[in-house]
């Protein structure tokens, strides 16, 4: 919080006789108004919370877009709906990015990379957020490295992916912890260490449980039971699914309406929304082959959320096709983190 300087030299306006005509913000100097607007933007739960202020009068319009106010905007304040996407929404996000808001950098980076197909600019915006240790940005960049998104199969860089995942995991990002855990178990991009991988997977589950319980205690609502969280259902914990980042909902909405064309698939995990950037980029469940995922983390979550009940080994056509290709066994192991194999 900024240190406030004393406004001893500021003359207060004369008190007006008619109370209705006096303006609340008139008596306050600009820096205090900006201070108030910073609070509005940091606790905003939707874009309209902040944008309404800009419509009230010229002074608030000018101060509402002050870089300090925009730099504090919460993720929800930047939660633009895909159906409302326009040049002006793009302009607003760019303004927030320029004010130093790393959430905006991440959001605009994801939108530019996947939706607007501008790979270079999208990646550099995400990198800008990642440098400021924004965990979701680090994880998203890791997924891009693992898949070689935006390039060819040869552009996959497993070691870079693991490094980025590790940094996101250090910050406590649950998906990154899971991804790293699986990489260690399989020796994927890093030397195999099954015990360490297992430890990370357990840590991911613990963190997820802790954050759900924290959210629940903050808003005690006995009606909230949810359809069962990912991996914790194995331990008998029937907790709600963790909240997805607004930008994942944006991606889901954007591609869900069929804007992709060209037969590229989306990650089958509902909370993800990432599309392929080239054919056959994502790997599919080797048991049924009906679903595909951008990462092991998404695969593990979706297995528990819904795929476990749907996945059926295609035994009949495996026999017909001399099914040696689709190896791997579906079904959870004792800890319940593994789904089918990815091929």
């Amino acid at each position: 919080m900024r240190k406030k300087q004393k406004t001893t030299s500021l003359p207060l306006p004369q008190p007006r006789t008619n109370a209705e005509e006096s303006d609340f913000f008139d008596g306050l100097p600009d820096d205090l108004v900006v201070f108030i607007l910073c609070k509005v933007s940091s606790s905003a739960s939707s874009p309209s919370d902040l944008i309404s202020i800009l419509f009230t009068c010229k002074r608030l319009n000018r101060l509402g877009v002050h870089p300090l106010v925009l730099s504090k905007a919460s993720p929800k304040a930047l939660a633009i709906r895909a159906k409302n996407w326009s040049e002006s929404a793009h302009r607003f996000l760019r303004l927030c990015v320029n004010s130093g808001n790393i959430e905006a950098s991440y959001t605009l980076g994801m939108i530019r990379f996947y939706c607007l197909q501008n790979r270079g600019s999208g990646a550099s915006l995400m990198a800008k957020a990642a440098i400021k240790t924004h965990a979701p940005a680090l994880y998203s960049l890791a997924v891009i490295q693992f898949n070689g998104s935006g390039g060819s199969k040869n552009d996959k860089n497993l070691k870079a992916g693991v490094a980025l995942c590790a940094r996101a995991a250090c910050l406590g990002h649950v998906d990154a912890l899971r991804e790293l855990g699986h990489c260690l178990q399989d020796g994927y991009g890093v030397r195999q260490n099954v015990a360490e991988g297992r430890r990370l997977l357990v840590q991911a589950n613990t963190r997820e449980l802790a954050s759900v319980l924290r959210a629940r205690s903050a808003s005690p609502d006995p009606g909230v039971s949810g359809s069962g969280c990912g991996l914790l259902s194995d331990f008998g914990c029937d907790v709600t699914e963790p909240e997805t980042h607004p930008v994942n909902s944006f991606l889901k909405e954007w591609f869900g309406s069929g804007c992709d064309g060209s037969g590229l698939r989306m990650c089958s995990h509902v909370g993800c929304g990432r599309p392929e950037t080239r054919p056959h980029e994502f790997r599919r469940c080797s048991v049924c082959g009906a679903v595909n995922y951008c990462s092991r983390g998404c695969q593990a979550l979706d297995w528990k959320l819904r795929h476990k009940v749907e996945c059926m080994p295609m035994e009949r056509w495996l026999e017909e096709n001399n099914g040696g290709d689709n190896g791997g066994v579906g079904g959870g192991d004792g800890g319940g983190e593994e789904g089918g194999e990815l091929n």
């Binding site: 913000f25 008596g27 309209s48 009230t56 009068c57 929404a89």
Partner: protein, 126 residues
């Protein structure tokens, strides 16, 4: 030291910035803070009662007083109150609450509507 300016305040001849009434509201706050520091709920209730009868004009003076006295917690609290009051409310409500007049030209306001059409969803009409 919460009241670094108080000493100066007494030495200072220029007392225009903080009137008596406001000072009596702001100054007891630190003592109350200390007493119920452990119990957050009580503090919230106390704060709610304090602000229930305060009109926006009073709030301006409270904010300026807290700023002058360099009393960070009170300043934070009053500003947060204002922020909560205008959170997710329609444009007209915000104008009415603070007695603001729209000083836009008619064309300008339409331009703004177009510019920010993407953001308007789910606003309380309150």
């Amino acid at each position: 030291m919460k009241f670094c300016t108080v000493k100066q305040y007494f030495d200072d001849e220029n007392n225009n910035n903080v009137t008596n009434g406001i000072a009596t509201t702001v100054i007891p706050l630190p003592n109350k803070h200390l007493k119920i520091k452990a119990n957050n709920k009580e503090m919230e209730q106390y704060e709610q009662e304090l602000l229930r009868n305060v009109m926006p004009q009073e709030l301006t003076k409270l904010i300026l007083a807290a700023n002058y006295l360099n009393f960070k917690e009170a300043l934070d609290f009053f500003c947060r109150t204002v922020a909560n009051a205008i959170q997710n409310k329609s444009v007209d409500y915000v104008r009415k609450f603070f007695g603001l007049e729209s000083d836009f030209e008619p064309g300008e306001e339409e331009k703004l509507c177009k510019e920010f059409a993407w953001s308007f969803e789910g606003v309380d009409e309150d």
